[in-house]
Amino acid sequence: MAGRRVAVKAIDWLAFAERVPPNQKSMFNALKTRSDAIAAKLASLPETPVVIDWNKYRKAVALPGMVDEFEKKFSALTIPEPVDTQTSRINAQEAEANQSALAYIEQSKARVALYEKQLDKFKNMIPFDQMTIEDLNEAFPETKLDKVKHPYWPHKPISEL
């Protein structure tokens, strides 16, 4: 009954929890409770089964060959390890997730570049004290008065004053 499987990797649940975005917290909690249940079940089972005292049985049981036969068959028996069907799927999922994560990071970087450009524009603006109306219209195009559409002062509908 030997056969050790791949050792279970220690997971830092605290660090993991920090990285979970708030909208996925419930999924994370479900995963954690499931994992904890599985780990508890595993811990409750002893690693090696109870050893059978063959000599005691040999003395006690009257039938002559029975104990020997059992003992022989028992030691010859090997229990097959359960087949792992899911790990390959998980690896595939992980590869997929890596792909989409890279794509997301690219998009995120593009967004950051955009934001930084806008931020620079705001940071390098002339202070309002030294601006003229033309400078204001350049910096904030929405303040430009449409003198063609509304040729008379105040160049905008009264309702917008």
């Binding site: 993991f16 109870v50 049981v61 039938l63 229990i79 359960p82 950051v112 705001f122």
Partner: protein
């Protein structure tokens, strides 16, 4: 000229906003063509210095080296006297009208100028403050957004932990299954052997009891009536002897 009057007497005009901008722009647009790319220097904070509200300081500075401090005043007085005496300026009723209007105007400007200037400044400052708020908010929101994006990128880095957890779960389930099978086999074998032993014990017990019952029955059956009477008589004599013995013991 009029702008200088307002500037000097008010003494409180801080931001030369749209008012100054409009007037100065008129002069600047004369000099700058649409191809000029150099950024304009900032507008001056206050207008040119004047004395007595009308006369520019530059005149006094101009005449100072030659005539000293009283030079421009002498020039002014001399000009005035010359105009009056030669009747180049004739005093008529218009003079009094002009004088009264001038007096009233100067009084009003001196009295209410600062407050009007403050009011105009307040309006301007409100506009500027609003614009500044918009700008500050925009800067804050962009900085926040950049932070959030960086945080999200950091979060994404932790994705391997999820898959580690999943693989762990799978491994643990497999291990549990394997151990359960082991235990099941051992327990089944043990149960069968224990059953055999229990069966044997049962057999022996039953045989024992049966044997005992049979022997008892036979013994009881073999006691003949004659033997019974004999044994009862013996018992009675034994009892009598015992009674005598105890009586003797009691008296001594």
């Amino acid at each position: 000229m009029l702008s200088r009057l307002v500037f000097a007497s008010a003494n409180a005009l801080k931001g030369s906003g749209p008012l100054g901008a409009g007037l100065v722009q008129a002069s600047r647009s004369l000099h700058t063509s649409s191809q000029s790319l150099a950024p304009l220097p900032p507008l001056p904070e206050t207008g040119g210095k004047v004395r007595h509200g009308i006369f520019p300081e530059e005149l006094f500075q101009l005449l100072y080296p030659k005539t000293g401090v009283t030079g421009p005043y002498m020039l002014g007085t001399g000009l005035l006297v010359y105009l009056l005496s030669k009747e180049l300026y004739v005093i008529n009723h218009e003079t009094f009208v002009a004088a009264s209007i001038g007096a009233v105007f100067i009084y009003v400007v001196k009295k209410f100028g600062p407050s009007v200037a403050a009011y105009a400044d307040k309006i301007n400052e409100e506009k500027v403050a609003k614009a500044q708020e918009v700008k500050d908010q925009a800067i804050a929101s962009y900085t926040q957004d950049i932070e959030d994006e960086k945080k999200e990128q950091w979060r994404v880095e932790g994705r391997s932990m999820l898959f580690d957890a999943k693989r762990n779960n799978v491994a643990m389930l497999l291990e549990t299954n394997y151990r359960e099978r082991l235990h099941m086999v051992t327990n089944e074998v043990k149960r069968r052997l224990d059953y055999q032993i229990a069966l044997q014990d049962l057999h022996r017990r039953m045989e024992q009891e049966h044997m005992v019952n049979w022997v008892e029955k036979n013994v009881i059956g073999s006691i003949t009536p004659q033997q019974e009477k004999q044994s009862i008589a013996k018992c009675i004599t034994d009892l009598k002897a015992l009674a005598k013995a105890t009586q003797v013991k009691a008296t001594t």
